[in-house]
Symmetry: C2
Subunit: 136 residues, 2 copies
């Protein structure tokens, strides 16, 4: 199938497919006589694999590793689990960071509610607060 069909079938943006090929994440597909890329069902599965990995927040490098482990066959499971667990930890940390940010924003926005415009509490916070996250 042609690249636009592979794109539709995999849910992966057309230009992104070419990008994955360029960086060696996807193999160079076979070509038609006139030079058009021709993808197999297996290629589409690989694209879906990558897309799902991205949806789960894995980096392209991590996905590369996962695919290598997948091809290795034996002993892969442990390594895969380790990679996934580390990734989960990273995600959880990012969540905590963002929650801290959200709390800080809420606090700041709330303090501005009054509407006395002589000085804006939000701008004030940006100017004078002791770096959010630092201190309690």
């Amino acid at each position: 199938m042609k690249i636009s069909e592979a794109s539709q079938a995999s849910g992966c943006h057309l230009e992104t497919i070419r990008y994955y090929e360029r960086i060696g994440l996807m193999p160079s597909p076979t070509r038609t006589g006139s030079g058009y890329r021709s993808y197999s069902e297996q290629d589409v599965e690989r694209l879906r694999f990558i897309t799902r990995g991205r949806d789960l927040g894995f980096s392209l490098d991590e996905i590369r590793s996962l695919m290598r482990l997948d091809q290795n066959g034996d002993l892969a499971c442990e390594d895969v689990t380790r990679l996934a667990q580390q990734h989960l930890i990273d995600v959880q940390e990012r969540i905590r960071d963002l929650q801290r940010v959200a709390r800080e924003l809420e606090r700041t926005i709330r303090s501005c509610g009054g509407g006395v415009r002589a000085q804006c509490a939000i701008l004030d916070a940006l100017k004078h607060s002791p770096a959010p996250g630092e201190a309690a």
Copy 2:
């Protein structure tokens, strides 16, 4: 003060200060006879303003807007609040996305716990799950 001192005083990386100047987020500072940048206390405050904005996840463009609003004086408060609220919504959305990702990862990792290595549940999930987030 020189750039390295301004860097220390503001907590903003030295090269980042030059970068902010290059993109017009910081004004061009005065220069010493030999061409060294010379920063005032006001400049440092501006740098801190930017850094705190970044810590709260605002983009440099949003920070640019905030600073413009700050200089406008009147009527700014409403606009500032709107900007901050929109940003809060974005942050909350990102948190939800990440939480979904974390749940999905936990589920997948858990299902791999057994350790029968004939086929890895994590890789399987990446291969066959109906795109996480889609469907319940």
